[in-house]
Symmetry: C2
Subunit: 357 residues, 2 copies
Amino acid sequence: MHQRLEVALGDRTYPIFIGDGLIRDPDCYRPYLRGSRVLVITNETVGPLYMGAVLEALGDLRTETLILPDGEVYKTLDVVNRVFDALLTHRFGRDATLIALGGGVVGDMAGFAAACYQRGVDFLQVPTTLLAQVDSSVGGKTGVNHRLGKNMIGAFHQPRAVVADTATLATLPDRELSAGLAEVIKYGLIRDRAFFGWLEGQMGALRARDPAALAEAIARSCQNKAEVVAADEREAGQRALLNLGHTFGHAIETGVGYGTWLHGEAVGAGLVLAAELSHRIGWIDSVSVDRTARLVDAAGLPTAPPSDLPAERILELMAVDKKVLDGHLRLVLLKGIGDAVVTDEIDRAQLLALLER
Amino acid sequence: MHQRLEVALGDRTYPIFIGDGLIRDPDCYRPYLRGSRVLVITNETVGPLYMGAVLEALGDLRTETLILPDGEVYKTLDVVNRVFDALLTHRFGRDATLIALGGGVVGDMAGFAAACYQRGVDFLQVPTTLLAQVDSSVGGKTGVNHRLGKNMIGAFHQPRAVVADTATLATLPDRELSAGLAEVIKYGLIRDRAFFGWLEGQMGALRARDPAALAEAIARSCQNKAEVVAADEREAGQRALLNLGHTFGHAIETGVGYGTWLHGEAVGAGLVLAAELSHRIGWIDSVSVDRTARLVDAAGLPTAPPSDLPAERILELMAVDKKVLDGHLRLVLLKGIGDAVVTDEIDRAQLLALLER
């Protein structure tokens, strides 16, 4: 039961494969390798679980491997430099293909390394977390964090293919499964009201890792993301809607210290904050806020920032977020469930009141 | 006596302004700044000479400045990170514009920082060396060196405008003027036989810094480069011809240690090596080799690698150069003066014989 979606970007169009056991399928890799040399990049957690399967699928290609430390704190320029070290030590040329095997951190760093190595080589995404399968592996956003802000350094660089093997989710810790569900809920909130309703009914099955429910949630999420990216690759317009909950989320994530809260956990709280703010300015009713908070809670996610993180600190961190255009804060808010818009009409006092509630 | 050329790249088309005193002309900057915030990046040598003039031209814009150390040894990822530090400390948003004021090192680093900051912001090139005015500021190649190879990390990112003020060449050391002439000679060799002949007659005037001769040499070089870049922005084909002499040059530059020889000096020797090799395989006559060597010598440049750099070492360094495709060495050679081609027909023995002569 495999699915094949497509991100339509002209001559850079690429497939997303979703299904059980795909990580072992040579047909998911071979057609997307232009040269004969491959570097598989993973981390110390995922490597022991799945590197063998990937190498087997790659067969007799000239393949090297690189194991990075595991964790968001390692998503830095210094660690990306280790990828360059490996590529140059093994004398990879412009026909190199990088394969990112792991979660969003590995994918973001391997993708950024691919974007910059010799001014751009190919890469494939093999996401092994729910978050990466439904969000970060699709759409070409790559990059690293800086001590003064998340994802501040990066590039748009599309993969040649995305291979989402649902079987890899079996080894995913519960907390990371929940973190991925934050992004799944997000697609429902911003543009797919029917999907939001489906999620309300299926959240129990998803957390119990029902294979059919997970495959459906991943495919529907990827379909939504693929449509948005195809329409607005470089975030000139509607792609910004994918940031619902993220401006709050990034500030929370930075405020508690990278790696203390998972990205998806911070986004979960951010989704509820966005819904609450949308209600405060009269855009949505309280029922919609309650439905959002209940679904985020049902996903096993926090519905508010940690109580010991001061509202002032969150505001300060939001101001350095890259969605601030020329000093003006832009936020994604809701006109309804399944209907998000970008606005710059929120002032500091409204934000402070929300965060201090 | 100002000239305006154009690099034709669709909606990313941009002008090159060439002329005396342009660095002080607000009209060379203002139309190309989309936001209100500017970071001017220069080095400790160029800053004291021209930063004041640029700031005056920018008038009342919200401008910050950053002074980097001077020299090719500082063209590293670590130093680019200082640009990110400055941008984030001053809370620059996606509407930031970076201005690169200086030579190729400043331009390559500022351009790469612009390519990566928040996945891409605008930048302007204000080259103050001949090398940067005729070559590195035009065409969008940005990046940094790695200890295992030059320009191995980077991005294609086109500037919004290039402002080449010929008056800034008055403060350029003789050695750097000569280094720039290596790239000027290169355009004649690869695609402009008439320009090569003009250079044979004008080399004395150029080294004496005759303003009219310099302006003509810069404009003609930029015109050649603009045509090549417009036809092949990402070096899928003919843009590779611009690397004539550079595979040898990079190996020499690395072999003697970054910063010992200037880039243009190594390219000078590389041009002569390329001509000699083209003659050895019967593509050009000895007269063409002699003309090339004489013109390179007349420009004040070395015509051979340093005698204490072993041929084996140069070969080893060439093998890691990024023009090596899948283990196969690709070189640009000459079918005649003004007629360069890419070839992969040269084997190791032929290279060794050439370098050991």
